[in-house]
């Protein structure tokens, strides 16, 4: 091998040659595919692959990397150590994969730096495979066998080690966007080209007129993955037909929800797929300036993205006269200031303009008047990442995935208390039960399932009897939308019976109240008032009328707010008071919390044991709690 693997690990030391035309690209693509085959599929020496992402770094993945490099060098063992993107198997981090010449790719879970020596002894020098536990400090447990080309490519088990496809986590997954996660080095553009990257760009730019590209995307019914599910093709068409120059393309990478990290992981893992999709989109709508707007909280994503944009520019995919087509485009990574509302399309444009990122009234929509008042097409990271594949395989391929109304797959982050916390990609139409009990592996410590919170901060709860509904954007009887479940950006939080819903409802409202930009009154005052009520209930000062007030005021906030944040902020509350009415009533009437997690109520209960009658019960008001009657004045209870 001519190149040291460290060079490939960073992708930084290899000089990038500028490609000036299509023929040059095709030559490079051919060489890189051959290199991929040579260096990754048929390794000549034992190869260690370490997945790097924001969270594996938190688990010490760099430390593991350096430990491998140093120990292999000290012991004079000929082996390669490579940095790759990360598979999404968070619960097993840091994961280390080992390929021996002619052998399978075996992943080992929870390899901290102190286990590296043992792993080298047993799996690289020795030929042990399978469960190597025994020494309690150096337990090495294999996770699964991956294929050399794709995560589900392995066909034969190794001893007892299951195939990736056989793990419950992977069982229902279908990885389209995430197919290269764990395979390519995000800091090396040639890895992406070697895996077939940028060929869709060539196809779109040289073989398809822009209107064809838009028609293909329109026909594919690609729906915006950021939350609203608006068809991307219609947005593109609007942007193309809008009057005004210049036009802007903006990638909305400002995720910011407290339970979603799919965009972050995508940018850390596969930045070039996003850039390719963005170039195709810009070409289709006739834009020459692009922004990738990333929140400040994602340092690794920002650096990876900036590096990727520089590489794409050096390789000739960005800049003047891209690949000799006469088309110019430049993309800039723009760092936001970390306000959740910046992720709203119209707020985002003000963020780029250096103003307070507050949404504005619509119309005009951002495709007519966006950044600097010019036509702007704003799409989510995941939406843009889908574009290369749709161009490559055609609209019909895409329509065959997922359900009829919501085609495609969706990246889903699952957190809270499932066994397998992680990032996965499932076809739309998968039932929620599969998501909780297969992708999530059920509840940690085998506790009973209580509920699942959908749609980031702004979706309803789903109970056990709702779990057979499907993961879609729609509201049909089979869809999760029928019970206030929202797909949104694909963040789900699983609760077991130890979680107090009263407390969680308060948490969601507190988040929305904190992130409300304060521009429109219903959201600014409404979220505050709702939070006051929820605070009151959670601290034992609730009153029965509060239930009606929550319902009525929530509806007001939903109907009158300016932007999506206010319109969705009370949804978790509405859903919670409907589904967990008993828990709220218990908190109001008895100042008691069955889960014991709501600390204020627990304190009241403890005191009541010493002083029977401590804390006067609130007077029952005339309301029957149905939400029909008029809300009675809410004077604070004097205690």
């Amino acid at each position: 091998m001519s190149m040291s693997s460290i060079d490939m690990a960073t992708g930084a030391e290899r000089a990038i040659e500028k490609m000036n035309d299509r023929a040059a690209f095709e030559q490079v693509a051919q060489n890189e595919t051959a290199r991929w085959q040579r260096e990754y599929n048929n390794v000549e020496r034992p190869t260690v692959l370490i997945g790097i992402s924001g969270s594996s770094v938190a688990h010490g993945a760099w430390k593991v990397y350096f430990e491998f490099v140093n120990q292999l060098k000290q012991r004079g063992i000929a082996a390669d150590v490579r940095v790759v993107s990360e598979m999404g198997t968070n619960w097993a981090m840091p994961v280390v994969d080992i390929i021996k010449p002619g052998g399978p790719r075996i992943a080992y879970q929870i390899i901290t730096a102190d286990k590296v020596g043992a792993l080298i002894d047993r799996a690289i020098v020795g030929d042990e495979r399978g469960d190597m536990s025994g020494d309690p400090l150096k337990d090495i447990v294999p996770l699964c066998v991956y294929g050399h080309e794709a995560w589900d490519g392995a066909t034969a088990r190794v001893g007892d080690i299951p195939l990736a496809k056989e793990l419950p986590f992977y069982e229902v997954q279908q990885r389209i966007l995430m197919r290269d996660f764990g395979y390519l080095n995000p800091r090396n553009i040639y890895d992406y080209i070697g895996r077939g990257g940028y060929s869709s760009l060539i196809k779109a730019m040289f073989d398809m007129p822009p209107t064809d590209i838009i028609d293909t995307v329109k026909k594919s019914n690609l729906r915006g993955r950021g939350g609203a599910g608006f068809p991307a093709g219609i947005k593109w068409e609007g942007a193309r037909n809008a009057k005004g120059e210049p036009k802007y393309v903006v990638c909305n990478a400002h995720e910011g929800e407290p339970n979603v990290f799919k965009d972050r992981r995508s940018m850390e893992g596969e930045p070039h797929m996003l850039i390719e999709g963005m170039i195709i989109e810009a070409f289709a709508i006739g834009s020459h300036i692009g922004y990738i707007y990333i929140g400040d909280e994602y340092p690794l994503a920002i650096r990876t993205m900036e590096h990727a944009v520089e590489q794409a520019r050096a390789a000739g995919f960005l800049g003047k006269n891209i690949l000799g087509s006469g088309y110019d485009l430049d993309i800039q990574v723009y760092m936001g200031g970390g306000a959740y509302i910046s992720g709203e399309a119209s707020a985002l444009q003000f963020g780029i303009e250096g103003q307070r990122a507050m949404p504005r009234t619509k119309p005009p929509r951002s495709v007519e008047a966006g950044v600097w008042g010019k036509p702007t097409c704003v799409n989510n990271v995941e939406t843009m990442m889908y574009v290369p594949d749709i161009i490559r395989h055609g609209a019909d391929w895409f329509l065959a995935l997922g359900t009829a109304k919501s085609p495609g797959t969706k990246m889903v982050t699952l957190m809270g208390l499932p066994k397998y916390v992680g990032l996965s990609e499932v076809p739309l139409g998968t039932t929620m039960r599969d998501i909780v009990f297969k992708v999530g592996g059920g509840i940690r410590n085998d506790r009973p399932f209580k509920a699942i919170q959908t749609g980031g901060t702004s979706g309803g709860l789903m109970l056990d009897n709702h779990l057979d509904l499907q993961l879609t954007f729609d509201n049909g009887p089979q869809d999760m939308g029928s019970v206030k479940g929202v797909l949104g950006s694909g963040g789900f939080v699983v609760y077991d019976d130890s979680v107090s819903i009263v407390d969680m409802t308060r948490y969601w409202m507190r988040f929305n109240r904190y992130e409300s930009c304060g521009k429109c009154v219903p959201c600014r005052i409404g979220t505050k008032s709702l939070l006051d009520i929820l605070d009151r209930i959670a601290t034992g000062l609730g009153r029965v009328e509060d239930m009606d007030a929550l319902k009525e005021w929530s509806e007001h906030v939903i109907s009158m707010s300016l932007c999506g944040l206010g319109q969705a902020a009370p949804l978790p509350t509405l859903s919670a008071i409907e589904l967990f009415r008993d828990e709220f009533m218990e908190a109001i009437l008895n100042q008691n919390d069955p889960t014991g997690r709501n600390e204020a109520l627990v304190a009241i209960q403890q005191r009541r044991r010493l002083e029977p009658g401590y804390g006067r019960l609130p007077l029952l008001a005339a309301s029957n709690g149905s939400g029909q009657g008029k809300v009675i004045t809410l004077t604070p209870v004097n205690r």
């Binding site: 960073t10 930084a12 020496r45 688990h59 929800e257 970390g338 780029i352 303009e353 957190m415 809270g416």
Partner: protein
Amino acid sequence: MSDQAHHYAIAREIDLARVRQICDQYRNISPEEALMPVFQEIQEEYGFVNEAACYEVAHQLSLSPTQVYSSLTFYWIYKWRPGGKHRIFLCEGSGCYTTGTTRLRRVVEERLGIGAGETTFDGKITFQPFSTCMGACEWSPLVEVDGEFYGFVDEAKMNQLIDQINRQEYDAEDQLAAPNSDAQYALVAPAPNSGDASTANVAQTSERAPSLTEYEAEQSAPSGPRPNSGNADSK
């Protein structure tokens, strides 16, 4: 936040000449667009922004000071006073909240006497809970202290972490001050049940994640580790 370089040195003033220098780097784009990047650099370099910097940037970029001020106060990354030498980040994403960050918050509040976003009176510790997911929810609740991550943190471990900072500061003061310096100079009150053994335990499990720049520097150094230089014949 997670692998970003922190600036632990406590700067009290912002050098306006440096601010002008930063502004000069952004002459090629429109002033409105340059506003955020300029202040992000100032924030990165000094750990805070102040009014003097606002006026200087407004002057340099020909914007009104009100516009600059209004933009800056909207985003939470800009701090208006210098941060502490040590930072405690508490993830309050929903995954972590579900597993109990309220108690951890109370531990910090009770022991250090500071709330969210505040710094201890001596400028040693800043406490910052934040609700943006760090993407390491399998470890929840997650705490980051001075760039090191600690997973599955409970009240005892949170106490240990604070002890650890306390000890670092205390030791440093020990060396500076007289050898008979007393526990009254300790930064915070010691936790009831925290011994050396438990602290050593924390130190053992701590994992220092090198930042990307550090990593690159190591890679580009000629003496950097090269796995391929191993002899293929020797096992």
